[in-house]
Amino acid sequence: VMTVSYDQFILDCKHFTGISDSLRDGWRLKQVDGIVYIAKTQIVQQNSDNTCISCDYHVIHHVSYQVPVLYFTACYNTGQVVPVDKIWSVLVSIDGITDKWSMISQTDHPIYSFPCYYVHPCHTATLMKNHSKTSNYLLTYITSVSPLVGLHVSIDYVQN
């Protein structure tokens, strides 16, 4: 199982947000209570009724498993939380996996303690199997996990 140390994760975050800045892609480097992580907000417009869903994505280093983990929440512009069935239908697309809850579940945010969805760290190993040691671990992780959760990641990240 491939892991990444917290120190390396911080370096990867700085590298990743550097690329994001040059692409004006909106990822922000955050530090709260001494914990470094990256965050991005993405607006998804629903075609069915023209309502907007605002998604917050956080990639945070998981202390026990020593891997990056994606956490996300979604709410309407009223501030109301998006219900779970909408999460599945609008945001999450996992083809060929019958038990969605085995990959994406709910948990308390590791820093702020509010409920959010996350891609379980046990799956990071599967997602990272094609990772080459020379490239940015965080970048490989984000490009692998993003299609599952409606997160757009430009090809320019990899080509940069």
């Binding site: 209570d33 202390v63 026990s64 779970v84 590791p110």
Partner: protein, 270 residues
Amino acid sequence: GGVINKVMVDEGTRREVWNGKIPVCFIVDQEEVGTTNIPPEPVFMLLPRVSYFPFIYDKLENVYGGIVGKSIEETIWLSFGSTPLKWHYPVGVLYDIHGRSSTLPWEVIVHFKNYPVDQLLLYESKALETHFKSKMKEADWLKHKAEVIQQMTPQEFSRLWQGFSQGSYDEFWSVNRKMMLNSRGDIEIFKHIPFCIYKEGSKVYQRLIPGVGSTIGDLLQMYVKDEQVNSKYEALVQGVELPVETPLQWLSTYMCNPDNFIHICIVCNT
């Protein structure tokens, strides 16, 4: 001799942890009952510290569900005053965080409407078992790189869950004792200690702490500013204030919760 007495004391501690209880008084949310109805009677229960509120959700639904006209889609939830109680936290932890300063029995309000989805995880019948299993896997990953739990058969895990959910110490520990040994069945210090810290009402970001040589004092150093350690802040485990010299390896072996985590509430004694 001395060694045998220590084993008996340690085992006794483990039983005391299992048997520790909180007296709780459940009252249903008045607003859900309506003013025209006679207020329903409160329900008193003596709940194990190491258990979870969902274990008694059925009982509460049987008592109050009909009175409030609970529908199939509605899910029960509990609060202390206006603070929703996280169903995936052990009862004892919730009491130590929220109820310590109130008189006993601890008054908890039962709700069926307006589930606070922005504060509580969604709940369905298997949610607690799934959460428990996930915690156990994480605990063994920290202690043994998951080598012990990987050897556990589904039947063993089933006995573990049955034993715990039905309050059978012997059945639970007949399986869980393996989690205190390495994959060869020998005593070995845990690589890292599985712990959860709660401070000022919520769980704080976890950190790694090795099994070798670590004490409660080391944890306080991590989570409380230097000048406040020993003077104001104390660590509570299973409701007991612990001396700073207490070794975490011992705590993890004899005072952990059934999920194999030590749950520590950092409290301020002003």
